[in-house]
């Protein structure tokens, strides 16, 4: 071959490559049910159902599940990311902010992109990250120093790097971004400190900020009157987790965090909107369409760090577009996601801070802090936290990893103290979430299935420790989950019966997910400092 011909062929080969790129269009992300082999957003779909349509692994054969591969990260931080899988390539985040591209069939890395957060980038609860979003050939990651990065999915090269918040002022980002159409939308963490939280949209191509919604209304805006004095400027209300998107209404929904200071409401009298709420924003403008506040004037850190779960269900005999929410405050909710109407709220763990709701769904709070301490359930760490739940449209059950029977003493102006019923410290009554092993009926981690039509509990699988692990359901009625004691379990989604377990030897602090490569289904979980991926032989 002549050198000239060889040159021409090389140029031609490279040039052709540009036109053959497989792009992850927003339509692909939105219509994820057409390609169940891929996991294209944090919860697998923008409704956050975390429901896999793959059917190779079944209740009958799940007992044969074997470890396919392990990828060990090089960080000792908690591993909270749910990976994406796109056409055989897995993208996950090694904490705090390194994106890694792995071969999804072998766990072997293609490339690593490293971002070292600025020293002032700190989060309240670990230098963690919950994963990336993708559009086209671009990955998006929020960083501990409150930046948003766009990184080439093929090469791992940085495309743009935008400051979302001022890390020196206490802003940070640990959540997975949301991509909707031509925007990447992300919120700011750090809401346990004196920030004023917000959600902002950025142009996917340039990183330019397009709109910003403050989670605390400013002067002249509705809701501003729910803060006293200057407290709105430092009222926290961060955003810690991915939102949900409803294409029919073009609304994106985010849960918001607690008001600051967390446990002392005396300087911020009022409801403190929009803390501990779900806000529904128009994707094009960032304007608030509706909101619902789960915990007005929170003094127990009951922030709504959970992902909103959207479902179309039969509600009181009629089809209804709803939002399901198992909240940190111990109450499970069904809301109309089009209007924000409160349809039902029901405690799903022991919750004594309220005794019901008014007609509009405002909780009637009955527990208040006192100098000697008020016994309040659930505990200051709540009934759940950010760990993502799952909804199966097949079983009609809402699967939640939760902490049952926990309690704190709410003391005026102070950090909550351990509750000591029966003259001794109860499990998780301590503020440090220490599991309790002396009595089985006191405070435990548990995975449960709830009927979304009634919010009645249908089954539970008790864990030997608490859990920060997310839950996955599949089209074969399997439920995968796990907890801090290092077991990854497969349960019967109809009964909660244990069908399989894998010992991962480290805490599960991430959400499970499933994908397929070359026709083979895998189930993957981050645990300890590794990704464990299982498949049938």
């Amino acid at each position: 071959m002549s050198r000239r011909l060889r040159f021409a062929l090389v140029v031609a080969a490279c040039a052709v490559a540009v036109s053959l790129q497989a792009q992850v269009s927003f339509e692909r992300v939105l219509q994820n049910e057409k390609e169940p082999q891929n996991w294209l957003s944090y919860s697998g779909a923008l409704d956050n159902q975390r429901y896999s349509r793959l059917t190779q692994i079944t209740p009958a054969n799940v007992k044969n599940l074997q470890l396919a591969w392990v990828w060990q990260n090089r960080s000792l931080e908690k591993f909270e990311a749910t990976p994406l899988v796109v056409d055989g390539v897995m993208y996950t985040v090694q904490p705090p902010n390194d994106i890694v591209a792995l071969d999804a069939a072998t766990g072997r890395p293609f490339w690593t992109f490293s971002h070292t957060p600025a020293a002032e980038g700190r989060a309240c609860c670990g230098r963690v990250n919950r994963g990336v979003a993708i559009l086209g050939d671009t990955l998006f990651m929020g960083t501990l120093d409150a930046r948003l990065l766009a990184v080439d999915a093929k090469s791992g090269q940085l495309i743009w790097n935008t400051q979302v918040g001022d890390a020196k002022a206490g802003y940070s980002i640990t959540m997975s971004p949301n991509v909707v159409k031509d925007k990447v939308i992300i919120g700011t963490g750090g809401g346990d400190g004196p920030i004023r939280g917000y959600i902002a949209a950025f142009d996917v191509k340039t990183g330019k900020e397009l709109w910003r919604f403050y989670t605390i209304p400013g002067p002249g805006e509705p809701g501003h009157e729910t803060w006293t004095g200057e407290s709105w400027k430092t009222g926290g209300t961060g955003v810690w987790n991915a939102g949900a998107y409803d294409p029919e209404t073009n609304l994106i929904f985010f849960g918001t965090g607690n008001p600051a200071p967390d446990w002392d409401g005396r300087t911020r009298k009022g409801d403190n909107l929009y803390s501990d709420s779900v806000v529904a924003l128009d994707v094009d403008t960032g304007k608030l369409k509706w909101h619902y506040q789960f915990t007005p004037h929170d003094e127990l850190d009951y922030d709504s760090t959970q992902v909103p779960v959207l479902a179309n269900i039969e509600w009181q005999g009629k089809p209804r577009k709803v939002m399901l929410w198992a909240n940190r405050n111990g109450v499970m909710y069904v809301l109309d996601r089009v209007t924000g109407e409160f349809l039902k709220g029901k405690p799903y763990v022991k919750a004594n801070w309220l005794d019901g709701f008014d007609a509009k769904g405002r909780p009637n709070r009955v527990k208040f802090p006192t100098a000697e301490g008020t016994f309040v359930q659930p505990h200051v760490h709540g009934a759940t936290n950010w760990a993502p739940p799952s909804y199966s449209p097949r079983t009609g059950l809402f699967y939640v990893a939760t902490w049952e029977n926990s309690a704190s003493l709410m003391v005026e102006g102070q950090f909550p103290r351990a509750a000591r019923p029966n003259g001794r410290e109860t499990a998780m009554g301590a503020t440090t979430l220490v599991p309790f092993y002396n009595r089985d009926d006191e405070a435990y981690g548990v995975i449960r299935g709830y009927d979304v039509k009634t919010l009645d509990q249908k089954w539970e699988f008790k864990l030997g420790d608490i859990t920060w692990g997310g839950v996955l359901s599949t089209a074969t009625d399997l439920v995968f989950g796990g907890g801090r004691d290092g077991y990854f379990v497969a349960l019967d989604g109809k009964t909660g019966a244990l069908l399989w377990k894998g010992s991962v030897g480290g805490q599960i602090n991430a959400g499970a997910m499933s994908y397929a490569v070359n026709g083979k289904q895998y189930v993957s979980i981050g645990a300890g400092n590794s990704v464990f991926t299982y498949a049938l032989p």
């Binding site: 140029v11 890395p109 293609f110 070292t116 766009a150 080439d152």
Partner: protein, 275 residues
């Protein structure tokens, strides 16, 4: 007397001072391996501020022997180790021996460095890059071009002029580990080539000529192994002036892109190089 005593005191101080001032004496003279060690030290430490050609700081060209004032080898060793107070030159953690190897490299480089015969023009070089050279068909700069070849967005930060020129006229002469090309022949005869991203006992990962991330089980292939770079030589394809222009253009590609600025991340790290 003061004129004479002062240097004596200075010499005594030198002799009594801790290790940074201890003279380094090679057994005979520096070996080729010493110079290579020095070059590596330059590439991992000095290059960040002084640049690949040693000429980023005004008035200094480390690789041609141009300093603020003449220094002895020992003085340079001390500067490398302790920095220069009240300037941007920081101290380092290098041992006296490591610093001595670095200084040997700088001295040798100054003696051997070739001067380009033709001065290049960066703007003309960009035009050659975009048109006659068709470089973007394999390379990428700030998001434009193919990902198959090495990303050149910051190549001017990482490579010296002589290295850039060599890569253009004799691309196989010195291929960086992360830029090696690899070929896999599957059992059905399908051949896949691409830039190697990683390989181990059982698997190999490449980005193929269609810019797809591909992974292969070695046992499932008929053959696999390294191949020459597909980068053609531009020795005769471009004129000497055009070559000089392209080199000048590539030399301008430094940290000014999205990674620049406070908190900005470094470029991605191919796994072969570790983290």
């Amino acid at each position: 007397m003061r004129f004479i005593i002062s240097p004596l005191i200075f010499l005594a101080a030198l002799m009594l001072a801790p290790s940074p001032d201890t003279a380094i004496v090679f057994a005979q003279h520096e070996t080729a391996a010493d110079l290579l060690d020095g070059e590596r030290a330059y590439g991992t430490t000095c290059v960040n501020c002084h640049g690949p050609n040693g000429d980023v700081i005004a008035g200094i060209n480390l690789l041609t022997g141009q300093f603020r004032r003449p220094y002895t080898d020992q003085e340079l060793v001390n500067i490398v180790r302790t920095g220069i107070p009240n300037t941007a030159m920081p101290p380092s953690t290098m041992s006296a021996e490591q610093a001595a190897k670095l200084v040997s490299y700088l001295r040798t480089s100054a003696k051997t460095k070739s001067t380009p015969l033709v001065a290049g023009d960066a703007s003309r070089g960009k035009a050659v890059y975009d048109s006659k050279g068709a470089c973007a068909s394999c390379h990428r700069i700030d998001g434009v071009g193919s990902r198959v070849g090495p990303d050149l967005s910051r190549v001017g930060q990482a490579r010296r002029t002589a290295e850039l020129e060599l890569a253009l006229v004799d691309p196989n002469a010195d291929v960086q580990p992360q830029n090696r090309f690899y070929r896999v022949v599957l059992k059905d005869g399908t051949t896949v080539t691409g830039r190697l991203l990683g390989h181990d006992t059982f698997n190999v990962q490449i980005i193929d000529m269609k810019e797809q991330l591909r992974s292969f089980v070695k046992a499932d292939t008929r053959e696999h192994g390294f191949i020459d770079t597909p980068m053609p030589s531009f020795r005769t394809r471009l004129t000497p002036q055009e070559l000089a222009d392209v080199v000048a253009y590539l030399g301008t590609l430094r940290v000014s892109g999205p990674g620049a600025g406070p908190g900005g991340p470094p470029p991605s790290t191919p796994q072969q190089r570790g983290r």
